[in-house]
Each structure stands twice: as C-alpha cells, then as structure tokens.
C-alpha cells in the first residue's frame, strides 16, 4: 500500500542541543502515532543515534521527521542527511562493532535492528542520507 505523509517537520543538526530536539520530536510523534512504550523507546533511540552520527561523523546536516500512514498503520519516518565524508566501509559499519571514533560502533547496526525499514545512500566525499521508518504494531 502507498505511504501518505500526514505531517512533516525539519530540524537542522548543527549542535548538541539539536540532538535533544530531534529526540523530543520523535517522542511527540511516537505518542501521536499511538506507539507503545517499547516502540517509542526504540524510535527515540534510533533518532538519537542517527542524529548523533549526522552531527559527529557527517559534520552536521538536516533531519526530517514525518508522521506517515499506510492505510492500516501509523508510522514515523525519519530522514537524516549530511554532506560529510560518506561511509566508505559501509558493509563493516552495518555489521556492527566497527567505529572510526573509538566508540562502540553500535549506533548504525543497532538502529537497523530497532526500526522496520532502513535505507542508506552514502557516497564517499559527497555525503550520507539515511531513512528509517517505524510502524505501530498490531
């Protein structure tokens, strides 16, 4: 079924405070979509991880958070885009446990497990765009 966008909000990611803003918006949309506590914690965590990567690795960028419907379910779709260095070693990153920032390297692989849909477009030297969607359960 086709996905309809009910509402859309964009937030720049330029500072640490913006990460909190992204998380708050994700929380508000999870509530409006009727997500249960587990689903909304997953959504907020995914938002936090992706926004932090955009800021920390991508040199800042933009988050677009949308309230979506597909006829039967409500959902939240989040897009994170930056014009940073891109991810040359994508396969390794998606496997998890790999970090260029001497961190845990769980952000990307973990987020993928928390959401229902995960798409990434990354080009070395051009930037990275990640789209994740989480739906209500029934």
């Amino acid at each position: 079924m086709t996905v309809a966008v009910v509402a859309r909000e964009e937030l720049p990611i330029r500072s640490e405070e913006d990460l909190v803003r992204v998380r708050r918006l994700a929380r508000a949309l999870a509530q409006r979509g009727g997500f249960d506590a587990f689903a909304s914690a997953a959504l907020m965590t995914a938002a936090s991880e992706m926004a932090r990567n955009t800021w920390q690795h991508g040199g800042g960028g933009l988050a677009a958070i949308e309230e979506v419907r597909d006829g039967r379910r409500a959902g939240v779709r989040m897009t994170f885009a930056d014009r940073g260095p891109g991810i040359p070693d994508l396969e390794r990153v998606l496997r998890g446990g790999y970090s260029t920032a001497s961190s845990l390297g769980l952000g990307m692989s973990g987020t993928r497990r928390l959401v229902d849909e995960f798409a990434i477009d990354t080009r070395p030297g051009e930037g990275t765009t990640i789209v994740v969607t989480k739906w209500t359960r029934r």
């Binding site: 640490e16 405070e17 990460l19 909190v20 998380r23 708050r24 929380r27 506590a37 587990f38 909304s40 914690a41 997953a42 907020m44 965590t45 936090s48 991880e49 932090r52 998890g96 446990g97 961190s103 845990l104 769980l106 952000g107 692989s109 973990g110 987020t111 497990r113 928390l114």
Partner: protein, 119 residues
C-alpha cells in the same frame, strides 16, 4: 546548563537523573560524580535512571564507564530503576551489560551498597 544534584548518605552517593541527558550534561555528570567520590571517599554510588525514557548507546556508555572509573577509585556502583523499554532497546542494539551492577529500585540498590542485602 542543567546539573544533576548529587546527595550523600553516609558512605554512599545518590543521584537521580531526570533531565533529558544530552551529551555534555552526561559528561559533566560523570565528572561531578568522580569529583565527589574523590572528595568524600564514598564507597558506594547509586544512580537512579527511572526518570529516563531513552538511553542511547552514548549515554549508556557514559554510565557504564562511570561505574568502571568509580571502581578504580574504590567505589561500587549500582544502577537502579532502568525502565523495561530502555533495557529492551539497549539489549536489542547489542549493548553489552557486563560489569554493570543493577537493582530494581533505589531501596534495593541502597540495601546492596550498605551491605543489608548480600549480593
């Protein structure tokens, strides 16, 4: 910037996190806690996170690292009040829980730290 208050109860330091922990608040919290252990020589550290509805891997790592650092300084750390959805999310992401001591709530955590409960 919001600071998280730290209370002292005998040999134990208590802190309840309620604010939306952004990265710099989390880092400053860690510094404050370690500073207080140094100053007071506390043997126990109880961190109540029942007020947090989201703990991403960054904050989780700061909390876990704080526990390890406190241990190096001779203080035992117990993390209490983690919500079910936060626990499930961290585990699903593959976050390892080794080396983190936990308890259901502050009462229980305090009982562990004061030796009233053998664990």
């Amino acid at each position: 910037m919001t600071a998280i208050p730290i209370l002292r109860l005998g040999n134990v330091l208590l802190a309840a996190v309620h604010v939306d922990l952004d990265d710099s608040v989390a880092e400053r919290f860690q510094e404050d806690l370690l500073g207080r252990i140094e100053k007071t020589g506390a043997h126990g550290l109880l961190i109540d996170i029942s007020g947090l509805d989201v703990v991403d891997t960054y904050v989780a790592r700061v909390l876990a690292d704080t526990g390890k650092m406190a241990r190096l300084m001779g203080a035992r750390t117990v993390l209490v009040g983690m919500r079910p959805e936060v626990a499930a999310t961290l585990v699903r992401m593959g976050f390892g829980v080794e080396g983190i001591e936990t308890a259901l709530d502050a009462d229980e955590g305090l009982a562990i730290l004061t030796g009233a409960s053998a664990r």
